[in-house]
């Protein structure tokens, strides 16, 4: 019995130690209770909030895939990609939609976690904490804005998710949702850095202001229709314009060449979603811009792109002669499968039927500087806010408030003049000459910018053809006054011609467009297509103008006229009112018992 007693005693002592024995301390991760105390820790946590921008459901993939695919300017040419909403044959179970929803809320929760802890160590410099706070607030607002645009009023969270149990959340109204977006962004505005300090990857004051303008325009438009927000939109856009840090890049093409080269141009590109590297190291931070949505290329020297997006006839026809945005956005060439970087052949302008087979061309891998290029990713950033957009938003807001004022028209003209060719607009053969056996050499005075070959018929020069170019469409040069044209060689003589060049007046908004508020709005709507195509803005522009469904059906009509009934017709025909919003993802509907589905998706 004695032995038994001592045994029991041993067990009792051991049991007493069990409390400690069962307390296993984690050795491989941190807990929020012991973090967020140093500047580096705050910065690391803030990086996580930014990280969502490069999420595959956002600008790494999903949105790159979606931009244009869901608007009237372009469509996806793949019949095999069935998991994307651009076919307009989707349901609430669509994984792309769910991932988008999830990514935005992940970003919101990360921001909330950081915001809850940012003041944990009050010994840290207040200014430093405010800078972190400002960016986190803005990004939280931005992710909520993306949700509001795509889903309408959604649940609003301003504190981190704390419990696995009470996860039901009610939808806020669209107004409440937008009010929260505004509140976050307005609170962020004084806190974030000035433009002069930051590069385009970090949120700066202009980014916040420009986005506030975009948010306000969305609030002023459909479906919220809060007209009072035009004034706020005007105010925020004006602040960006007046800041002095921004101006348009003189070359439209150069904006995107700089993006391809990973160069910043904060004057034009105010905020970008950042991608980096080629996946040949430990990082996988490369994206898909230009890898999915550029001109087709299978040449590894150029950089490969399977080219998932084709343009629509509506987009092709939106441009006037002299608008250099067209040759840049709609390539007149095809990349060769072999050969040096950028090797290409030029194509004749497509027939109306073939227009729908042309890829979009704004993002081009041939300009990338990082080598070797990954065939499955690219380092190209995604432009989130450009100064041209701010100018157009400004014009739109002013027009809504006080009609097509000079200020409003001026802003649009700024955008158009930058885009316009300064080259030869037209050539008149004043004399065909005689005796030409071969095409004479054509030369232009005042520089050698333009390049052309003569066309001869029956010994006479009958016209000239400018050399094709991948950036400006044709090498018509750049002049301040019309150059003289001379013909030499070719065995003949006497040919003469005069040239006319494009002027600012050609670029400027035509008088008819500025006649009324309505006509100017319509003009701006087209101008935004020309300027901001395939930058992921089109669908929501159409929605806020209340013309998404008619615009898509307009394309369907054009396809029927131009082509007939190709497989992609259905996606334009299918667009209905309910497509103004995506359905709330089925997973959210199932697991959140307070969630209510969007109209038409029940």
């Amino acid at each position: 019995m004695k032995k038994l007693c001592s045994l029991l005693a041993i067990i009792a002592v051991t049991a007493g130690a069990c409390k400690d024995f069962l307390d296993v301390k984690p050795s491989d991760f941190l807990s929020s209770s012991n973090y967020y105390t140093t500047p580096a820790e705050l910065e690391t946590a803030l990086t996580g909030v930014y990280n969502i921008l490069s999420h595959s459901a956002l600008y790494r993939g999903g949105v790159v895939y979606l931009n244009g695919f869901e608007g009237d300017e372009a469509y996806i040419n793949r019949s095999t990609l069935i998991n994307y909403p651009f076919t307009f044959d989707y349901t609430a179970t669509n994984p792309t939609i769910e991932n988008f929803w999830f990514a935005c809320y992940t970003g919101i929760n990360r921001a909330n976690t950081l915001l809850q802890n940012v003041d944990k160590n009050t010994a840290l410099d207040q200014a430093l904490r405010d800078k972190v706070r400002g960016q986190a607030l803005f990004l939280r607002g931005y992710y909520l804005f993306l949700l509001a645009q795509n889903f309408g009023g959604v649940p609003i969270f301003v504190a981190p998710t704390a419990s696995v149990e009470s996860t039901d959340a009610k939808r806020a109204t669209l107004k409440e949702t937008y009010d929260q977006v505004l509140a976050d962004m307005e609170k962020a505005e004084p806190l974030v850095e000035e433009v002069t300090i930051a590069k385009s990857s970090r949120v700066n004051k202009s980014a916040v202001r420009g986005l506030l303008a975009r948010v306000c325009l969305n609030m002023a438009g459909q479906p919220l229709n809060d007209q009072s927000k035009y004034e706020a939109a005007r105010k925020w856009a004006k602040m960006v314009i007046d800041d002095g840090s921004h101006s348009l890049n003189p070359s439209y093409a150069d904006i995107f060449i700089k993006i391809a080269r990973d160069e910043y141009d904060i004057r034009e590109c105010i905020w970008e979603a950042e991608f980096w590297g080629n996946g040949m190291d430990a990082y996988s931070m490369a994206g898909n811009n230009a890898r999915i949505n550029g001109p087709a290329s299978s040449n590894p020297n150029t950089g490969t792109c399977p080219a998932y997006i084709n343009i629509t006839g509506k987009f092709y026809n939106a441009f006037e002669a002299g608008d250099l945005r067209k040759p840049w956005s709609i390539p007149n060439f095809k990349y060769l499968a072999t050969g040096p970087r950028g090797a290409k052949t030029y194509e004749a302008p497509p027939t109306p039927t073939n227009v729908y087979l042309v890829n979009t061309g704004k993002y081009r891998r041939e300009y990338e500087t990082l080598t070797p290029q990954n065939i499955n990713s690219s380092p190209q950033n995604w432009p989130l806010l450009r100064f041209a957009d701010v100018l157009l938003m400004y014009a739109e807001a002013v027009n809504a408030i006080s009609g097509p004022t000079a200020e409003a028209v001026g802003a649009v003209n700024l955008v158009r003049r930058r885009a316009w060719s300064k080259g030869i607009k037209a050539v008149t053969i004043t004399s065909g000459g005689a005796g030409y056996t071969s095409a004479p050499t054509v030369s232009f005075s005042a520089g050698s910018d333009a390049q052309a070959t003569a066309v001869i018929a029956a010994g006479k020069v009958t016209g000239i053809t400018f050399a094709p170019d991948a950036v400006v469409g044709a090498l018509t040069g750049s002049y301040t006054s019309a150059p003289a044209i001379t013909f030499s060689g070719g065995g003949g003589s006497g040919a003469a011609a005069t040239a006319a060049i494009y002027t600012e007046a050609d670029a400027d908004v035509p008088a008819a467009a500025t006649a009324t508020k309505e006509s100017f709005l319509q003009f701006i709507q087209q101008e935004r297509l020309r300027e901001l195509n395939t930058e992921g803005l089109r669908k929501h522009d159409l929605i806020r103008w209340g013309i998404f469904v008619p615009a898509m059906h307009e394309v369907a009509n054009m396809i029927q006229q131009d082509v007939g009934a190709p497989s992609y017709l259905q996606r334009f025909l299918s667009v209905a009112e309910r497509h103004n919003l995506w359905p709330i993802p089925a997973k959210e509907m199932t697991l959140n018992r307070q969630m209510v589905q969007n109209p038409g998706w029940e």
């Binding site: 069962l22 984690p26 973090y35 419990s163 490969t304």
Partner: protein
């Protein structure tokens, strides 16, 4: 007191010592009057070898003697006495003296698995006194299967135990599920108790099946609840062989044989291949194959390269075991070693195991016993895991994809067998490299070294009270090495996705477990008829896991192999460490009255570090009653009934198989943060989960009703068990509303039910003279039903990964249904001419009233695939997906027959699975080329496809695959099978021939595994589940073909 030194040759002196012991321990006996001397010899049966050290007792007294070296004994007995002869491991015999002076006896070896004592948790009970549902595995039969691990041979052996292996990959680990899956997202593996130590995930392949003395499977809560905390999935109790008193017995067995693939897929001939290619792409095909005046007919008799034969081989296999076991009364020992060497049927894949073991048991005095066991195993698995695509996102890294897809002819002078790749057919999604060369160059090596040592001390405090203390230390070191040279898809410069050049990686992990199990056992019979056994105990266990590793790219010196990794550029590193602890108190009371009315009650309390302090402890009670009816007088007239027992049990068991720190609020750091200002990306830290301090033990309540019937002295033994298990507080990786910002969280939510019936029948059909025929039949039905999921959720959907276009969920697990049902479109044959209007010759417009197949109506042509439009809306879209079939069998079982005649034994074991389906995803690609890949060979079955001349419904026309990525019933097949799993024929030489070789046994044997299979399944093997989990069963894609094995063996005992 007599003290003794351990000695290896104790038997020589044993007789005397035993007698002395006897005299010391049994004083004061009265010596009766009419004494006479009886002598005799005890011999072993069969063989007739004299047995020393056999205990000979006078029944009813404490008097007795031991046999000497010649097996002889001498005893003084009373007239009318009965002698009892016993020796460990042999069946006890009784002989009445009845006037004789010489009583010779033969002792028969006792088959351990048929023994009357069943090892259960923390003790053993007589089979007759069992109250729970415990199945004993017939190890003698099981070890006839020439396999690496006992788990490979367990399928069909025991009712209620489902063994599903993914495929036939050497070194692959089968999954054992007892009585249906309790958990949806977590492991359903049973708890293993090896030599008394519970282990959750043992390296089962490290245990040599030859070393297993007994294996019992505890199924109901009464049996398992003593391991309460982790026993919800059932318990497998394994006792390994230890030394036995007696002269050193040497066992040596070796077998050698080979494996081959019973079935390969029939592929298209060159003629059919080109015909198909021409239909797909006339221009390209003509350009390539119809040059120099050649036409399709020119290829009628072109020989094909059979790529399957190129990568398959007859894989040699050898198994050798040697053991020396023996000991004296006080010291017993066993030393053993084994070698298992298997070359897989796919070249460059193999599995090897070296294993050594030592056990020692020592009695110190009468009351104290100590012992130790040490085991060392080294496992080496080599070769690409055939059913996965390591190191690349390309489908071509799947071995069978490469093999089947590769062209059967080149069409020109190019020698396809010599060329490293089919360069014209390399795209980012299809790295078509030479199947043979790539397999030859694959370097995938996993090494695992397991060292385990345990020791015990058992002390009899009183005659009725025994204290047992024991401890174990188990260390497992795993190393995985991957090396991809330029001739592998992952390392080749031809792979456009490969930016890492020649690359490799190493990973190390170290798992250390120590555990201590301590019990106090009280055993007493009161008033003759009340028998009580009580066990109380305490245990503690700690597990630590640490891993590290790195990967390197652009290795400059390819010929250095994996050792050239240091010369490359490292690109990723891992390092983790974690651990958990468990502490438990437990107790059990077994009571019976005259072995007639039996009662068992158990209770266990477990504390786990995996839960927050407030939720740490879980308590698991169980109770069982049993009634041995044959003892009742009303059954006495039924002479045939030798055993009739009714059992009823109920209890609650638990499960804590979640991550070690799931309840914590965790932040995860990652280098994949965000690049600011074109800088190297900054690191990020993010919340990884939502803390859940409420996380607690999962609890399974199980009710079991069993009946055992033995007839004709148990020549017929029948057992039936009915059970119902309801799992509550399911530890579910539950989906969260995505608006929380988290995808999943571990929650105790959901309920699951498993109910079933298990029948087993053991019969001795014939036992006449030297001939016996024994059968064993078992069948089990389990029905699994999901009762509840996380809040509001009606179903779980799960996808399997193989082809990226087929990433939509294939499985549905819905409330009210079993887990893992196949979900997709119903295949409705092929559109025929009658389905179209033909406004002009050759123009076919699908009739308005007929649904399109998911692609645009205008594109649909006769011969295209057709799916059922379930909701009748004229469209085939995601609303038309339905449950197409089940992944779990309706019933499964085994049927074993054993014939023996003199020294010849023939045993045949059949195993089956019925009612489950298999999704043959290979056919998606190889029967219709659903992804439209160029110059890809197809299964010969696709020759029978729709064409104007062959208007079949079996397969759609060339290019008629419709929308890509639709899972449909077209490739869902009946997965039922009946398999002649193990056949073994052996011949033991008669004792008289081998005695002069000092042998006690010499047996030659031939054994075969997977000899014959009857199935309707069109794939290589119906025993397949390439993405095996409860939620994703029965999926076949590029599975390693299961081999048929034929082994020739020799077994010698000295």
């Amino acid at each position: 007191m007599i003290t003794q030194k351990p000695s290896w040759c104790i038997p020589l002196r044993m007789g005397g010592v035993m007698l002395m012991l006897f005299l010391l321990t049994a004083p004061g006996q009265l010596w009766a009057q009419q004494q006479k001397t009886v002598t005799g010899t005890v011999r072993e049966q069969p063989g007739g070898t004299p047995m020393p050290g056999v205990r000979v007792m006078v029944k009813g007294t404490a008097r007795g003697a031991n046999t000497n070296e010649q097996g002889k004994y001498t005893l003084s007995v009373q007239e009318g006495a009965v002698l009892e002869f016993s020796f460990i491991g042999y069946r006890k015999e009784e002989r009445p003296v009845a006037g004789k002076t010489i009583v010779d006896v033969s002792l028969e070896k006792e088959d351990v698995t048929l023994s009357n004592v069943v090892v259960i948790g923390y003790g053993a009970v007589k089979k007759q006194d069992l109250t729970g549902s415990v199945s004993q595995v017939k190890m003698k039969e099981l070890t006839k299967a020439p396999v690496a691990s006992f788990t490979d041979a367990l399928a069909g052996r025991v009712a209620g135990v489902q063994v599903s292996s993914n495929d036939g990959q050497p070194g692959g680990v089968p999954n054992i599920v007892i009585r249906g899956a309790n958990s949806l997202t977590q492991s359903n593996a049973p708890l293993y108790v090896i030599d008394g130590f519970p282990v959750e995930n043992p390296e089962n392949a490290a245990i040599n099946p030859e070393e297993i003395e007994s294996m019992n499977i505890l199924k109901d809560a009464s049996a398992t609840a003593i391991y309460g905390s982790r026993a919800a999935n059932g318990v497998v109790v394994i006792e390994t062989k230890r030394g036995k008193t007696g002269k050193p017995a040497i066992t040596f067995n070796t077998s050698y044989g080979f494996q081959e693939v019973p079935k390969t897929m029939e592929m298209m001939s060159p003629y059919e291949f080109i015909k198909y290619q021409y239909e797909r792409r006339p221009d390209i095909t003509a350009e390539k194959y119809f040059t120099d005046g050649k036409t399709l007919e020119s290829y009628r008799n072109t020989p094909a390269i059979n790529w399957q034969n190129e990568v398959l081989r007859k894989g040699p296999m050898s198994i050798s075991n040697i053991a020396i076991r023996g000991g004296s009364d006080v010291t017993r020992y066993a030393i053993s070693g084994s070698l298992y060497d298997q070359k897989g049927v796919v070249i460059n894949t193999d599995f090897k195991r070296y294993q050594a073991r030592f056990t020692l048991d020592q009695d110190i005095g009468k009351k104290l016993k100590v012992g130790l066991t040490a085991n060392y195993s080294r496992l080496k698995t080599f070769g690409q895991p055939v059913a996965s695509n390591p190191g690349s996102s390309s489908i071509s890294t799947y071995l069978w994809f490469r093999v089947w897809a590769y062209r059967p002819l080149s069409g020109d002078e190019v020698s396809l067998t010599d060329e490293i790749a089919d360069p014209e057919n390399i795209t980012p999604s299809d790295i078509r490299m030479n199947p043979l060369i790539t397999v030859q160059n694959d370097f995938t090596r996993d090494l695992s070294t397991v060292f385990s040592g345990n020791a015990y001390l058992s002390y009899s405090i009183t005659d009725n009270l025994v204290l047992r203390l024991s401890g174990i230390a188990n260390g497992e070191f795993r190393k995985s090495e991957r090396y991809y040279n330029s001739k592998t898809p992952q390392g080749s410069p031809l792979n456009p996705n490969n930016l890492r050049g020649v690359n490799g990686s190493v990973g190390n992990s170290e798992i250390n477990i120590w555990s201590s199990e301590n019990t106090l056992t009280y055993n007493k019979t009161f008033n003759e008829h009340h028998s009580l056994t009580a066990v109380g105990g305490f245990s503690a266990q700690e597990t630590r896991v640490a891993t590290n590793g790195y990967a390197a790219q652009n290795l400059p010196n390819e010929n250095l192999g994996i050792s050239g990794m240091d010369e490359g550029v490292p690109y990723t590193g891992t390092a983790t460490s974690e651990g958990n602890t468990l502490m438990s108190f437990f107790g059990r009371i077994n009571y019976n009255y005259r072995s007639r009315y039996l009662l068992t009650a158990t209770f266990r309390g477990d504390g786990s570090s995996k839960f927050a302090p407030e939720r740490r402890w879980g308590y698991f009670p169980s109770a069982a009653i049993a009634w041995n009816m044959q003892e009742e007088s009303f059954l006495q007239p039924l002479k045939a009934v030798s055993n009739a027992k009714l059992r009823l049990s109920y209890g609650i068991t638990g499960n804590n198989r979640v991550g070690n720190f799931e309840w914590f609020d965790r932040l995860t750091q990652s280098i994949q943060g965000y690049s600011f200002n074109n800088g190297t990306p900054s690191s990020t830290i993010n919340p990884a989960n939502i803390a859940n301090k409420d996380l607690r033990w999962e609890r399974t309540a199980q009710l079991n009703l069993g009946y055992d019937l033995g007839l004709f002295r148990n020549r017929i033994e029948f057992t039936v068990d009915l059970y119902r298990k309801i799992t509550n507080d399911l530890l579910l990786r539950a989906d969260l509303p995505p608006s929380t910002g988290f995808g999943t969280a571990f929650k105790n939510i959901g309920r699951l039910k498993n109910e079933g019936i298990e029948l087993s029948l053991n019969t001795v059909n014939i036992s006449k003279g030297d001939f016996t025929w024994q059968s064993n039949f078992n069948i089990s039905f389990n029905k699994n039903t999901i009762l509840e999921l996380t809040e509001g959720q009606q179903f779980l959907q799960n996808a399997v990964s193989f082809e990226s276009q087929f990433s939509s969920p294939l499985y549905l697990s819905a409330i009210g249904q079993p887990a893992g049902m196949f979900f997709g479109y119903l295949f409705d044959g092929v559109y025929q001419y009658a389905d179209f209007d033909s406004p002009a010759p050759g123009v076919y417009v699908l009739k308005k009233e007929l649904p399109a197949n998911g692609t645009g109506r205008t594109a649909i042509q006769p011969g295209d695939v057709k799916y059922k439009d379930i909701n009748g809306d004229g469209l085939v879209n995601s609303l038309d997906m339905v449950v197409m079939g089940r992944g779990q069998p309706i019933h499964a079982g085994g049927f074993m027959n054993n014939f023996s005649y003199k020294g010849i034994t023939l045993s045949a074991f059949l195993q089956w699975s019925y009612g489950n389906q298999i999704y043959n995803a290979n056919r998606l690609t190889f029967e219709g080329n659903s992804n439209g890949r160029h110059e890809m060979n197809q299964f010969a079955s696709y020759v029978n496809r729709w064409s104007p001349e062959n208007q079949t419904n079996a397969n759609y026309r060339t290019n008629g695959h419709g929308p890509i990525g639709y899972h449909s019933s077209r490739v869902l097949e009946d997965g039922s099978y009946l398999r002649l799993k193990t056949v073994s024929l052996s011949y033991s030489l008669p004792a008289r021939y081998i005695r002069r070789l000092s042998m006690s046994n010499l047996t030659f044997s031939i054994s075969a595994q997977n000899l014959l299979t009857w199935t309707k399944y069109s794939g290589m093997d119906p025993e397949v589940s390439a993405r095996n989990s409860v939620l994703t069963p029965g999926f076949d894609f590029s599975a390693y073909p299961r081999a048929r094995t034929l082994m020739f063996g020799l077994n010698a005992n000295f």
